[in-house]
């Protein structure tokens, strides 16, 4: 029977071959295809050649032509590299791998590495072939399989083939051992729990002579140590071995096999240095053992070539990372200093990069190379300049600020736009921290604003303004300087104009009465303002600055008030609504409320702290008549960036904690005086405080302090929900609490608390889960989009429950935050609580997938489920 089948098959095979020959004698060779493709003159022509060949290749694949499969797959791989789809070759690669011919296997595995990756389903099929080939008697077949496994192993493959690799790791053949070690590395990366399996075999890799096995062995150990602290502890004892290997490498004479430009096996040296770094990190004993050898490598390595520098670089990293002697650290930094002078830009680059990493640990040692680093600001390579800039800022201190700032300012002038924003911000920070005196500080800020043009971030503008408003003695000087710049300014640079107009508005009188060292005529002033206000180059915010400033000037000038009014009233019909509003409002100050103008436009008091400054809008409108939208901003608690509120939150936290003491209840007040801008904010916060002041009188369990910390410091947007959350523990006793409200609590508190109380009581709680003796009940509070779920788990199992873990997942459009549970274990009939917060901005139906696990009687119980019976009131 089978022989008949055989005959038929043969006949079919022959027929096919004949057909093949008639149709097209042989598939064209790979090199001929490449030639054809290369001779194509246009992209379309190339596409045509490729499409024709692909069609043909598909055909042969369908016909199961095994003779030419290898050639066809090779051609397909070339086509794939050109960017054409080649996935239809995946199965053919697997067939090639299964073929007994070495050529087929070689191309098949190559194709597998190129066309499949760990995401492919075909992996099940390739795993079998790999298993076979790993057991082959030919080392190169084993080698191919190992190489492929090392490149594409997925977690599943890793598990299936881990045993084979472990066996090969103990092979007597070094060629196989080294490749098996890399495979083991890949496997433990993919499936870390397989690590222990490789431990015994790995240890013996270090006693090898063969460098290939040594380097892969060291790499494998490095990865194990990185992944697991246990392994790290285990391998501490190999430090002397590593030191010996390294010593042999650098002491041994010339060995042609591993020599690279006079350095003996740099690849291995670097790997060993890296492993030493991990082993010596925060371990003085291990560090002690390697000090000597690191010093030897650092001093003996030839540094004229890249390869020597590669080793020195690695040595420096290791020295800086372990607990090395101070002399050695200086030596390391000096190596980097030498690198900075190297003609090779690559070496300068790594030097700066490394100095940046170590500058905080050894600032004084790095300071010695300051001039070299400053030179690097002028380097031709942008990434070198960037590193140098960052390093310069790290090096600034009060002794060198003048020289450093001078260099950095000239760098800022010519720097690429992408540098200007960060550079100017950092200049401002540095000046703030180390400036020798106020005038220098002002000068520097003005230079920064000038040099960075439009790339000045807003915070620089506001800190310049704040600085000038603070420095009473220097205001005249500053305003004079600013006028000098403004009168000749190119109008395209907004930040400078903003600072200048703000200051001239505030201190214009100093300018006019001659204190400022310049003589200005009022009409000149008005002219410049007109130029700014009617220029198309100035942005709207700049014009807002200018308009307010001009208004302020109306109280400082004597002759030109009429023309100011003209300008201001012209803005009453401006297209921009903000400017229009300002125009109209300011105009009112000339007409109906003229008597108030002088008082309203008085100088602003100097700013009290930095934080208020950050929002320059507030800074600007602060002392001026607050326009309606400004008020709205302050009243609206969801407004972002309301910095002042944050201040009060932290105060509130302090007070909250204080409020836990019975003695202090009701005595809680915000400890600092509120700035006028933020008047509504403290009111609300004190409400919360007062509410909590009432807390101690009730038996309700206080929320743990850490949680409060969380909620209090979380962003402004959740502020209102936080307050509700703080209230929730008190709901049972709501009446006494509300009566205990401080009478000072304003209406704001009522609007905040009352709805919260009502709303929560109207949403019924649900029973989310009741199985295996564990019951989960949930109660809800809704505040805008945030639902706070108070989950209570009850233990009805009759035994102690430990390791209780509740996990939850919600649909994509929702965000979930889980706070720590009150406990992870429950005695029989006792309960534990956990707060879950769900942010549901789109108001979609809430569903939750949950997963529970706990141990009872020493065994693990797990369950999962879905909760879909949430009350619709939660999202409607």
């Amino acid at each position: 029977m089978s022989s008949i089948k055989q005959v038929i098959n043969d006949a079919v095979e022959k027929g096919k071959e004949v057909y093949e020959k008639v149709r097209q004698p042989n598939p064209i060779r790979l090199r001929d295809l490449i030639r054809q493709i290369r001779s194509a003159k246009t992209a379309a022509e190339e596409r045509a050649v490729v499409n024709r060949e692909c069609a043909y290749i598909r055909l042969t694949f369908r016909e199961e032509d095994s003779v030419w499969r290898c050639r066809n797959v090779a051609k397909l791989l070339y086509i794939h590299m050109l960017g054409y789809p080649a996935h239809f070759g995946q199965m053919e690669c697997l067939k090639l791998i299964a073929s007994p011919r070495f050529t087929d296997k070689r191309i098949g595995y190559l194709g597998a590495m190129l066309l499949l990756d760990e995401r492919q389903d075909v992996h099940l099929l390739i795993t079998n072939s790999l298993k076979n080939d790993l057991n082959s008697s030919t080392q190169f077949v084993q080698g191919l399989a190992l190489c492929t496994l090392g490149a594409i192993a997925s977690p599943e493959m890793s598990r299936d083939l881990a045993g084979e690799v472990e066996r090969l790791l103990k092979s007597s053949n070094a060629y196989i051992r080294k490749k098996a070690a890399v495979c083991a590395l890949r496997i433990i990366c993919k499936v870390p729990e397989l690590m222990e399996m490789y431990l015994p075999a790995t240890r013996s890799l270090l006693s090898e002579k063969n460098h290939g096995v040594l380097i892969t062995g060291v790499t494998l150990i490095t990865e194990m140590c990185r992944q697991s602290p246990d392994m790290l502890a285990h391998f501490k004892k190999i430090v002397p071995n590593l030191v010996r290997i390294l010593k042999n490498l650098i002491m041994a004479g010339y060995s042609p096999e591993h020599d690279v430009q006079g350095v003996s096996d740099p690849f291995l040296q670097v790997k060993i240095l890296k492993l030493l770094r991990i082993l010596g990190h925060e371990d003085s004993e291990a560090s002690e053992t390697m000090n000597d050898i690191l010093a030897q490598v650092a001093t003996n390595t030839e540094s004229s070539k890249n390869v020597g520098n590669a080793i020195l670089y690695e040595t420096v990293l290791s020295i800086m990372d372990i607990k090395s002697e101070s002399g050695l650290r200086v030596l390391a930094i000096n190596i980097l200093g030498r690198f900075l002078l190297n003609a090779d830009k690559n070496i300068r680059y790594v030097a700066l990069n490394t100095l940046l990493r170590v500058v905080h640990a050894d600032n004084s040692a790095v300071q010695r190379h300051r001039t070299t680093i400053l030179e690097c600001l002028k380097d031709a390579d942008i990434s070198i300049r960037r590193r140098a800039m960052e390093l310069c800022f790290a090096l600034i201190n009060s002794n060198n600020i003048r020289t450093m700032m001078k260099e950095l300012l000239s760098f800022l002038e010519t720097a690429e736009p992408e540098f200007k924003a960060t550079c100017s911000s950092k200049c401002v920070l540095a000046a703030e921290k180390y400036s020798p005196n106020v005038r220098w500080h002002i000068d520097t800020l003005l230079k920064v604003v000038q040099a960075a043009g439009n790339h000045v971030p807003d915070d620089v503008v506001s800190s310049a303004i704040q600085l000038i408003s603070d420095a009473r003695t220097e205001q005249a000087y500053a305003v004079g300087e600013l006028w000098r710049h403004l009168s000749v300014a190119q109008l395209e640079f907004q930040p400078l104009i903003q600072v200048a107009t703000w200051c001239i508005g505030e201190f214009g009188d100093l300018l006019l009465n001659g204190q400022a060292d310049v003589t200005v005529v009022e009409s000149e002033l008005i002219e410049v303002y007109q130029r700014i206000l009617w220029s198309s180059q100035c942005s709207i915010p700049t014009k807002e600055y200018a308009l307010t400033s001009l208004m302020k000037l109306s109280a400082r000038l004597s002759h030109e008030v009429g023309s100011i009014q003209q300008v201001v009233s012209a803005f009453g019909s401006h297209l921009n609504i903000e400017l229009q509003q300002r125009g109209i409002e300011y105009n009112q100050l000339f007409t109906r409320h003229g008597h108030m103008r002088g008082a309203l436009l008085e100088r602003m008091p100097p700013f009290e702290n930095n934080r208020i400054q950050e929002n320059d809008k507030i800074a600007l409108t602060n002392g001026v008549d607050a326009s309606p939208d400004n008020q709205a901003l302050l009243n609206d608690f969801t407004a972002p960036n309301n910095n002042a509120n944050e201040n009060y939150e932290s105060n509130a936290l302090l007070d909250l904690l204080g409020g836990m003491d019975p003695g202090e209840s009701n005595a809680v007040q915000p400890s600092t005086t509120p700035a006028p801008v933020t008047a509504p904010a403290p009111a609300v916060n004190s409400d919360i405080l007062d509410l909590l002041g009432g807390l101690d009188s009730t038996p309700a369990a206080p929320v743990p302090a850490t949680n409060m910390n969380d909620t209090m410091s979380s962003g402004q947007s959740t502020n209102s929900s936080n307050s509700a959350y703080l209230l929730d523990g008190l709901l049972n006793n709501s009446t006494p609490i509300i009566t205990s409200l401080n009478p000072a609590a304003t209406t704001a508190s009522n609007t905040l608390t009352t709805p919260a109380v009502q709303k929560t009581s109207s949403i019924p709680g649900i029973n989310a889960y009741n199985k295996n003796g564990i019951k989960l009940d949930m109660t809800f509070e809704v505040q805008e989009t945030v639902t706070t779920i108070n989950m209570q788990a009850t233990n009805n199992t009759g035994t102690n429950v430990t390791d209780f873990l509740f996990q939850a997942a919600v649909p994509k459009s929702l965000q979930l935050q889980m706070l720590n549970p009150s406990s992870t274990s429950m005695a029989p009939t006792s309960t534990l609580n956990q707060i879950i917060k769900v942010n549901n901005p789109n108001k979609v139906a809430l569903r939750m997938r949950i997963k529970l696990s706990w141990s009872a009687n020493g065994s693990l119980v797990q369950d999962q489920g879905e909760i879909s019976n949430f009350p619709p009131a939660l999202w409607q």
């Binding site: 590299m81 190992l146 490149a151 495979c183 870390p192 670089y313 997942a809």
Partner: protein, 213 residues
């Protein structure tokens, strides 16, 4: 360094002390992995209690190596991390255009996403490797150089055309030098010996139907 071995230290600690049995730990691991797969399927789902921290333990040294011509034509690509084809193409395109736009005065390194790119030009070919932040870029230049030397020995003063027409051989060479992104042989002689032996094996395996690719 994120380490898998202690994804949630207290959980693990407790398990060990209370249930020394290996079986229990494995089952917990399994649960853990299921959970992990769950969250891989639905990326937006947030899992909780910090139990899944530190799972990203992957530390493949070299992420990929690309060879391309001055005209921007890809000549060789070796990926040691799995990516969909589309992503590979995008990365390749981006890198080729970035590197070709760099001036000769610039260093051979650039930071790209969270990787370091090390490249070097040899005649008309660019060799470009992506390595991890912690890796030694100077040594990567040496690895590239070693690869070029090997090709040079093998082809006899190699040129771009050799690599175009014998791209599979160039891949074979790379696979002998590096496996899974790690250097596995530091001796040139050994690499060339292994390649020669395999070439010979290939000829033998042709048998009667001797043909070339």
């Amino acid at each position: 360094m994120p380490s898998y071995a202690s994804p949630s230290p207290d959980l693990e600690g407790e398990t060990k002390s209370q249930h020394p049995k290996q079986a229990f730990r494995t089952s917990e691991r399994a649960a853990f992995l299921i959970l992990r797969r769950l969250c891989a399927d639905e990326p937006a789902i947030v899992l909780t209690s910090g139990a899944l921290d530190g799972l990203q333990g992957l530390e493949i040294k070299m992420q990929f190596m690309l060879l391309f011509s001055r005209q921007g034509k890809l000549r060789l690509q070796k990926w040691y991390e799995a990516h969909p084809d589309k992503v590979k193409k995008k990365i390749t395109r981006e890198l080729i255009s970035t590197i070709l736009a760099r001036k000769p005065k610039m260093s051979s390194f650039l930071e790209w996403k969270d990787l370091k790119i090390v490249y070097k030009r040899y005649a008309s070919l660019y060799f470009c490797c992506a390595i991890e932040q912690e890796d030694n870029e100077l040594l990567t230049l040496e690895i590239i150089h070693r690869y070029v030397e090997l090709l040079d020995k093998y082809f006899g003063s190699v040129c771009e055309l050799d690599i175009i027409f014998n791209f599979e051989k160039a891949y074979f060479m790379l696979d002998e030098l590096m496996v899974g992104g790690e250097v596995c042989e530091t001796s040139k002689k050994n690499v060339l010996k292994a390649i020669a032996a395999q070439d010979l094996l290939q000829e033998v395996s042709y048998g009667e139907t001797a043909y070339e690719l």
